[in-house]
């Protein structure tokens, strides 16, 4: 479904993606891992057609996504309907005056009549547990509610692929837990997920496959999640963890964390 071949991208003279080749199939759930500034967000923007490769090609369902092909407004819109993007900064993603309008923005654009729009919005709100906030102003919601609303506003377009940039950032543990399960469910329902994160604990629950960036903006590894978690040297090499991290192994479930008493 998503085919990236030798993709590179420079941002104002600075290299942001180096020679990335990646293929993602329909229904997969992929985590993008890497230290800050390694290119995860840039790759997500590229997958969403916000920026375009300087070199290399990007195919979506066999169609090339480039500055040239995206000049065609109809093609671009059809593509944007298929790939949804949840920004890291939800504040910047919400611009309507009520929660209802925010979720209805997409369906209304797709020419649905107001009854179908209302039905779809209600189902979306219910799915994310936002039904009581219908008339509230998005601006004044809490961080977790804003994240849920941002997801609802993208889901109402019914995209095939959902790209999430650091979705766990700034969420409390309970909401974080809820989101992990929600995303799992969504993937189960057939949606392709591409999630960037540096939360090692959640990676193996979020996805089967992990793509690891090295600090020179190229790909360091593309493995099953469980394998990445086993390779502590690899994680150290890409500067995602330092020597204080260690792992408690369980049956098929392990996690990394840091103990205070190691810091003497």
């Amino acid at each position: 479904m998503i085919e990236l071949e030798n993709v590179s991208f420079c941002y104002e003279g600075n290299e942001a993606l180096r020679d990335i080749s990646l293929s993602i199939d329909e229904g997969e759930s992929v985590s993008l891992l890497g230290a800050n500034g390694c290119g995860k967000s840039t790759l997500q923007k590229l997958i969403n057609g916000i920026i375009f490769a300087d070199r290399g090609t990007y195919l979506f369902d066999g169609d090339e996504i480039s500055a040239k092909t995206m000049k065609d407004a109809r093609f671009a819109k059809a593509f944007h309907q298929k790939v949804g993007f949840v920004f890291q900064n939800c504040d910047a993603q919400l611009f309507c005056a009520s929660v209802f309008d925010e979720v209805a923005f997409g369906p209304r654009q797709m020419g649905m009549d107001e009854d179908s729009v209302a039905a779809r919005v209600e189902e979306c709100l219910e799915l994310l547990g936002l039904q009581d906030l219908r008339e509230r102003q998005p601006y004044h919601l809490s961080g977790g509610e804003k994240k849920k609303l941002a997801i609802a506003s993208v889901l109402s377009l019914n995209p095939q692929v959902l790209v999430l940039d650091e979705p766990m950032n700034g969420l409390d543990p309970r909401t974080e837990r809820w989101l992990v399960e929600f995303l799992h469910e969504l993937n189960h329902a057939g949606k392709t997920l591409i999630i960037s994160t540096h939360d090692l604990e959640l990676v193996q629950e979020l996805s089967q496959r992990a793509v690891l960036f090295s600090e020179d903006h190229s790909l360091a590894a593309d493995l099953a999640t469980t394998q990445v978690m086993d390779d502590i040297e690899l994680l150290k090499r890409v500067n995602l963890i330092d020597e204080y991290y260690h792992r408690h192994a369980g049956e098929g479930h392990g996690h990394y964390h840091i103990h205070n008493y190691h810091l003497e």
Partner: protein, 266 residues
């Protein structure tokens, strides 16, 4: 969790055409703004490779613009043009191209505006006004592309601009970037979700502008609180060292030459 049925099926959707080029145009102007601001952050404090004190840069540019504006002698404008071209020669090639491009564009537009008056028998404006516009825009662009903007603003202090006003300018510049990036993200989000026909485009833009205002007010409040915590009482003092080097001497000498040319030709 009950996933609604429509979410399990793929959406059958053929986008209609909509005249929403305004989103892309707005995005482009914000990207241009941000890249301009970022480019100057990488600069040092001097006038191009000459490293001239920004105070002299602002002073001489101002004098130059006044003289060009006052002059009725085309020859003087040529003298200034020659001088600016020499300055351009020592600028980084990226800034050189950008300066030439913008000043030629503005001069060309001016020439077009002046064209009808030429047909009415006015032969002065069609040549002189675009040329003057060319050198003025060139002079300002050379100044703006010569140093980090914070230092240019600080240089205004020596023209007895009140400290408080310089402080406000500093804050404006800083928040221009933060709020500009925020707006760019909002516009991008709008673009990604604009998959069809938007029947109320004004509402979407008003939402972005309104959110921008509310965010800016909250940032202002936070900035104020953070400054108060660090003991800010509304007094603002600037500290900078005054430099004078060989480059400054050469630069001033060149500008004295310009003034002499003006007086001589007058």
């Amino acid at each position: 969790m009950a996933v609604p049925e429509w979410l399990l099926e793929s959406q059958d959707f053929a986008p209609p055409v909509d005249k929403d080029g305004f989103i892309n145009r707005s995005i482009l102007s914000f990207m241009r703004l941000l890249s301009l601001v970022r480019a100057q952050e990488r600069r040092g404090g001097g006038l191009g490779r000459l490293a001239v004190n920004p105070f002299f840069g602002v002073l001489c540019t101002l004098v130059l613009i006044v003289l060009v504006s006052l002059s009725t002698q085309l020859t003087f404008v040529y003298v200034v043009l020659a001088y600016l071209l020499v300055l351009l020669c020592v600028m980084p090639v990226r800034d050189l191209i950008a300066t030439l491009r913008i000043s030629l564009a503005v001069a060309l537009i001016t020439a077009l505006i002046m064209l009808p008056s030429f047909l009415l028998g006015n032969h002065y404006s069609i040549i002189v006004v675009p040329l003057k516009v060319l050198v003025t825009v060139m002079a300002v662009n050379i100044l703006a592309r010569s140093a980090e903007w914070g230092r240019i603003i600080t240089a205004l202090r020596r023209f007895h601009v009140p400290h408080l006003f310089i402080f406000i300018l500093d804050i404006t510049l800083k928040y221009l970037v933060m709020l500009g990036e925020f707006t760019l993200t909002m516009l991008t989000a709008l673009k990604l979700r604009s998959v069809g026909k938007n029947r109320s485009k004004q509402t979407a833009l008003a939402g972005i502008a309104g959110t921008l205002f509310i965010t800016s007010r909250e940032m202002a409040e936070e900035q104020y609180q953070a400054m108060e915590c660090r003991g800010f009482d509304g007094e603002y003092k600037l500290y900078d060292k005054f430099r004078f080097g060989l480059a400054d001497a050469v630069y001033l000498l060149l500008n004295v030459g310009i003034v002499a040319a003006f007086v001589y030709l007058y």
